[in-house]
């Protein structure tokens, strides 16, 4: 199984807090649903931001499908759903989708069908005109819809279930299942261990910017234990 993401000795340190990532080695196998776990401040979001080119690593290498992340081209075929999505306040959901469709190179003739299909799936086809009037849940659904535009080869979800009601969470899970079925790689960064346990087949546990453990779910979680117990034991052993 080839690597969708490969990080080698990755370092990204924030000058003020000293936190960040301190020599992370990590491989995300292609076609897996990969859970990124860690306590607050572990470096998960920093890793995701480095992956998307939003933060520049201090040292080390980080590649998506073999392309260094500092090249914009590495993000072709990558969908991202952030923890706190923000869109232009004066745009409509449809306009947001059209902008993203153009940015990922969907042909003009297919933009209408691609965007309306995703908006209908997100229950936003009849959404009000301005994003600024949307509820938190609607903004999250719009974020998920834009992340899934063009059936990305890799989907990165940063705390996708936060602020969502049970129906919204189920919708996120369904989208993860759909992405896995078409062979996409999904990176799920979440605090909700039950969600990770339910959706992921591979997991990495990060603590203080370093990798503590990684492997398939059965490798990491022995029979008779659950992910939460394994996670807490690992973190406490480090403290």
């Amino acid at each position: 199984m080839s690597a969708a993401v490969e990080a080698r000795d990755l370092v990204k340190t924030y000058r003020k807090s000293g936190r960040g990532i301190h020599g992370l080695d990590l491989e995300v196998p292609e076609g897996t649903v990969f859970g990124l776990l860690g306590p607050n401040g572990a470096g998960k979001t920093t890793f995701v931001k480095c992956l998307l080119g939003l933060l520049a690593p201090n040292t080390g290498s980080l590649e998506i499908f073999g392309s260094p992340v500092n090249r914009a081209g590495a993000r072709v075929g990558v969908g991202f759903v952030p923890e706190s999505p923000r869109f232009g306040d004066y745009l409509s959901a449809e306009e947001v989708m059209r902008i993203h469709a153009r940015l990922i190179g969907i042909p003009s003739s297919e933009i209408n069908s691609a965007t309306s299909e995703r908006l209908e799936a997100a229950d936003l086809a009849d959404a009000p005109k301005r994003v600024k009037s949307y509820s938190k849940g609607m903004v999250r659904r719009l974020a998920l819809a834009q992340g899934l535009l063009g059936d990305p080869r890799m989907l990165i979800l940063d705390e996708p279930a936060a602020d969502l009601d049970p129906i919204g969470r189920r919708a996120v899970r369904n989208q993860i299942v759909e992405a896995r079925e078409r062979g996409a790689t999904v990176i799920l960064n979440s605090h909700l261990l039950s969600e990770v346990e339910r959706s992921c087949d591979h997991v990495a546990i990060i603590h203080k910017g370093r990798l503590l453990a990684t492997g398939t779910m059965p490798e990491l979680v022995p029979e008779g234990k659950d992910l939460e117990t394994v996670f807490v034991d690992l973190i406490e052993a480090q403290s």
Binding site: L55, A72, R75, V78, P82, Y90, E95, H100, R130, I156
Partner: protein, 270 residues
């Protein structure tokens, strides 16, 4: 190129829907309508608004350019700093879009709005000239084209200041100062480049004018010392070599823009 144009068109769409731009257009229409009314419908107005001066001139060199400066700052002060701070940029930059493409796209959006506003001003000024029968001032379109160029330079500087400093007000203030600094520095440039002694006093006076608090200058203003004499010295120096000034303006913009791009490329986002 497609990414830049997509980001620019989205920025124009947003600016068009902001109340601020609608308010600006409304104020402009009220001012122009008021001037037309004064010039046509009242004796007092007719005497005040001398036909020789022309309504078109009033509309083009009076209050409206000041309003367009404010509009240019308003459409560029939040251009990049806010989307970087609140995470809107992160969603765009997570696409195959380089940071410089995002910034350039946002800047082009602002420039598009500014050019549109200046075109509207030029048409209004020409329209007023037709209404008051003084005729269309042949310079009116050239004047607004130059204004659009200058305001685009201002928008570029404010945009890049908003990239470097997150705070929109500080970006607006410092951007305007940098823009204003181009004038005294261009006068100094003329002095150095041409070695012309006649440029020296104007360079010094212009520089002093920009850095001295206006309160301290008010006695001079009342005594008339700031009147035509000073203007003629400054104008004489500044018109000495327009190509050199243009060259300076472009070089100055290139330095600010390149430095900002380089810093923005290294800046963390999201």
């Amino acid at each position: 190129m497609k990414a830049i144009l997509t980001i620019a068109s989205a920025a124009i769409l947003e600016h068009r829907r902001r109340k601020l731009i609608g308010f600006f257009v409304l104020i402009t229409l009220v001012i122009v309508a008021g001037l037309v009314y004064l010039s046509l419908d009242t004796d007092l107005g007719a005497s005040l608004m001398n036909a020789a001066v022309g309504m078109a001139t009033i509309a083009s060199v009076g209050l409206l350019p000041a309003l367009t400066v404010l509009a240019a700052i308003a459409v560029s002060m939040n251009n990049v700093g806010r989307p970087f701070a609140d995470g809107e940029a992160a969603l765009i930059l997570a696409r195959p879009v380089a940071r410089w493409q995002f910034i350039l796209g946002r800047l082009l959006g602002s420039v598009g709005v500014i050019v549109g506003l200046c075109a509207l001003m030029a048409l209004l000024a020409a329209g007023v000239g037709l209404i008051d029968r003084s005729g269309v001032d042949p310079d009116v379109f050239g004047h607004w084209a130059v204004t659009a160029f200058n305001l685009s330079l201002l928008a570029a500087i404010v945009t890049f200041m908003s990239t470097l400093l997150g705070n929109p007000l500080i970006a607006a203030f410092s951007g305007y100062l940098l823009y204003a600094a181009a004038t005294p520095v261009s006068a100094l440039y003329l002095l150095v480049a041409n070695g012309n002694i006649s440029g020296a006093p104007s360079a010094v006076i212009t520089a002093a004018w920009f850095i001295t608090p206006k309160k301290l200058l008010s006695p001079l203003r009342h005594s008339g010392a700031e009147g035509p004499e000073m203007s003629s010295i400054v104008d004489g120096a500044l018109q000495m070599d327009n190509w050199a000034r243009l060259g300076w303006g472009l070089a100055y913009t290139a330095v600010v823009v390149t430095a900002s791009f380089l810093i923005a490329e290294r800046k963390d986002a999201g």
